[in-house]
Structure formats: C-alpha cells, structure tokens
Symmetry: C2
Subunit: 266 residues, 2 copies
C-alpha cells in the first residue's frame, strides 16, 4: 500500500509520500511515489501515485511526453486544470492498453493520483485523479487530498489544517499524520518524500527525503507521542459515582444496557 | 457503518460502540450494537456487532436461546472459549438460513463481532468472531479488537493502551478513539454505549449511554482537540536552511526529488 497526502493552502502546497510497495508480504519494495515536473519561473507540478505500481509508473512515464490532439502537454498547458485533464488522458491511455489484460488475471485497474502545482500567474491548485481519468479539485472547504492508507492519518489533519495554516505547520501536520499511519499499518514505510512549495516561487526549493535517521522526523515521532501521552494523562477520568445534582443526569452509571436475559426454563 | 472497540486489560474489560446504521445515505438509522448477557455472580458477557444489521440482530436473538447438541448455551457454558464457540455456531446457523438468499441479491454475508466477558473464576477474555464463525482471542501482545470503521481511531489506542492500563484510562482512550472516528467519518454516530467491567465483579455496574449532551464526552471532545492543537503548536517547525554542521546532513532541503524533465525538442 501507500500513503500520500497533498494540501492546498493560501501560502502554497505541501506534498508528502511514503515509499513502500507490496505485492504480498513476501514481496516488499521501496519505490518513490512523488515526481516533480519543473520548469523554473514557468511551472512546478508534483505528482503522487497510489495503486498498482505498473500502472502508476506507466502514467508517470507517459505524462512526460504525451501531447493531445491540440498539441497540449503538461509542459505547455496554460493552467493546472488543463494539466490535470492531460494527466487524466494518460490514465485512460494506460487503461486502454492494460486494463483488459489485467482483468484476465483478476486484477483491477487500480490507480489514484494527487497532482498539484502552479503555472505562471495562476493560483496554486491541487487535484485528485481517479482510475477513470476523471478528477476533482481541492478548495477552501476541502483543503487536502489523501490517497492509499488514508484513514489512520486523517483525524489529525481534520483537527489542525485549514486554508490559512502556514506551510511549516502544514508540513509538520503531514509528518504527524504519516507517523500515525506508519505506526498502525505495516504496508506504509520510510523513506518519505516531502516537498513544500511556496505560492509564486515557481521553483522547487524545499524538498527532503526523510529516513529513520532524519533528526526532525525523529523529534516529531518521539515528542508527539510523548506529549500526546502527557495530554492523555492530564484529562480527568470518568466519574462513575451517581450524583444528586440535576445538572449531572447524563453522568455515566445511570443507564441500562440492552440486556438479554436467560430464556425461561420450560 | 459502525465503530466498536473492546479492550482486555488486567483490570478488566472495556466495550464501546456507536449506534449509527446506514443502508445508503438516505437511510440512516440508530440501532444499539452492544448487548449484555448477565447472570449476577455467575457470568457477564458483552456482544458488539458490525456488518449487515439483519444478520447481527438474528445472531443476537439466536444466541440467547441456542443450545448445542451437548446441551451447552451461553448461559451454562463452562468458560468464555465455549461461549465464543457457541456464538460462532449461531453465526453459522444464520449463514445457513440467509446467505444463499442474500447472495441472490448480490449481498455478502457480512458480519463481525466482538464478544468478551467473564465466567465464574476464569480470567476475563475477549474474542473477535468472523462471518465464518471462526474466532480469535485477545492476549497481552494484542490487547484490543476493533470492528467496523477501525482505522481512524487506531493510532491513539496503539500509542496509549497496554495490558496494565487502568480501566478509567482505557475508557478515556476508547472515547478519544471514538471521537476521532466520529469527526472523520459520517457513517459513525452518537449515542454511544460504554461498558466498563472490573475483573471478578461478575455484574454490570458501570454502563453509560453517551449522547451529545454528556458532559464527560463533551469535555473530552473539546479538551482533547484543544490540547492536541497546543501540543502541535509547541512542536518546532522544520528548518529548511542548509547547515555546515556535519551532524545535520539529514536536515531538509539538501535532497533532490525524482525529477521529470521536459523531453528534448526534436
């Protein structure tokens, strides 16, 4: 499996991906799932992939050279919407080529993509592209996308991130979200690719490969876990004693469960 | 969907279940998923169910009256292992009766159960029962089971709970785990059934139905979220500046992403 998260903030974009692949527990691999398409001062686009690795790799390869009937490619698309559409077309090309043969082996055409960036003066945009080549865009009400093993790391993002979150805080949150996922699911693994893009810069200048020796990620892993435990211990325990105070009528201990009683002996 | 969690600690057992069911977004219901089988001073058993509601309800109903060929029922089983086996048999009975007809409508025989308790002088035991009627037991190395929408609420349990955790702390953790799930997944909903069983008591004396007015759950929801944000803000931001210090070679900002460069113009 995989865990990738992309966030679209007013300040820019944050992308984080793991690098574990598995085709069964006896076939674990490390493949980086983030690719950067950069033309300085013109466009920066970032692609993250989840799903069948052969499909993901073909999409990434085709995207680089694909030109549609109007001569548009990701390298000259006038805006990110058109670039996402072109990416969707390459997914459909791979589908036409591979889906039937895969299906013959009982394998679904399974791929999902996060694609975001900035072209020229347009604002930063972030898309999620599905296996059918259709796609949706992130907006202020839904400011991030996740692909792969998304659920473990979702609560912390829901609690912390909004469109006004700073890039540093968003990167920190993405790493905590990844840490929660790494701890709970063995199919997601280090190293991580982290890319932070600042609106208007039109170049990649904050990128890191994070492995188990990375001091910042080590600090996050240990201090987040420890401080979470401290907060946990600081929250008072439930009070099971009955209260006479009317305001406390919803206190634990005064309800009846759904009881199943033994059948009468006939 | 559903979220239920059961924990087996040295001090006893904790059970927590939500009550939302849905058969499509236009068909949301409230059904309690926890049932208590209690014979004071002899046995306390708790069943939580996830999956197809008609199957769950039939299993619950049958379990009360089912007696196997040796005359054993949950009411006279000599230990929890035998009680879990009897529960598995009732799942198989429902399967024999309903699975083929459901299959004709393209509906899987989908049910999963958490079943735990104490019989006589035996230790507290906790089981997870599958749709095939087979089951596994919790031990110190794997001290809890979840059914339904398990992933959102798993990280906090993994970080906090171990066999020596007190019943109050385990109940607190289960409620935080539920809160994370409620925030991230609309198919899980209030009210909650919370039951805390103390080893050796052989009666149910700590049970609560928790709805949105419950002051303890309100406190957990607000203070956990707020303190999580405080901890988050207290963790330092990543440092993207290059360092000359050799010990800092893994600091962000010094790596290269997987770059895709534009194809050469022919």
């Amino acid at each position: 499996m995989t865990y990738c998260v992309g966030m679209r903030l007013h300040a820019g974009l944050v992308f984080l991906s793991d690098s574990r692949t598995n085709a069964g527990v006896d076939h674990i691999g490390t493949f980086r799932k983030m690719s950067v398409y950069e033309q300085r001062d013109d466009r920066v686009m970032v692609l993250m992939t989840a799903g069948n690795l052969s499909i993901s790799q073909s999409v990434r390869e085709l995207l680089n050279t694909y030109t549609d009937a109007q001569g548009l490619s990701v390298w000259n698309a006038p805006n990110m919407y058109e670039a996402a559409r072109i990416l969707g077309e390459t997914v459909r090309l791979v589908n036409q080529r591979d889906a039937k043969a895969l299906s013959g082996f009982g394998i679904d055409f399974n791929v999902s993509l996060i694609f975001g960036g900035q072209i020229g003066n347009e604002r930063c945009r972030l898309f999620q592209i599905y296996a059918a080549g259709n796609f949706i865009e992130a907006h202020d009400e839904n400011t991030y996308f996740q692909i792969g093993e998304a659920k473990y790391g979702k609560p912390i993002i829901d609690r912390v991130v909004n469109p006004d979150t700073s890039l540093d805080d968003a990167a920190k949150c993405a790493l905590i979200s990844m840490d929660s996922t790494l701890r709970s699911n063995i199919s997601v693994g280090l190293p991580l690719d982290l890319l932070v893009y600042e609106t208007g810069s039109l170049k990649v200048d904050r990128f890191a490969i994070i492995d188990e020796k990375n001091p910042y990620f080590q600090m996050i892993r240990s201090s987040w876990g420890q401080q979470l435990k401290n907060v946990f211990e600081g929250i008072e325990a439930p009070d099971w004693e009955p209260h006479n105070d009317a305001s406390q009528t919803e206190t634990p201990g005064q309800h009846q469960p759904v009881r199943v009683t033994p059948p009468a002996i006939s």
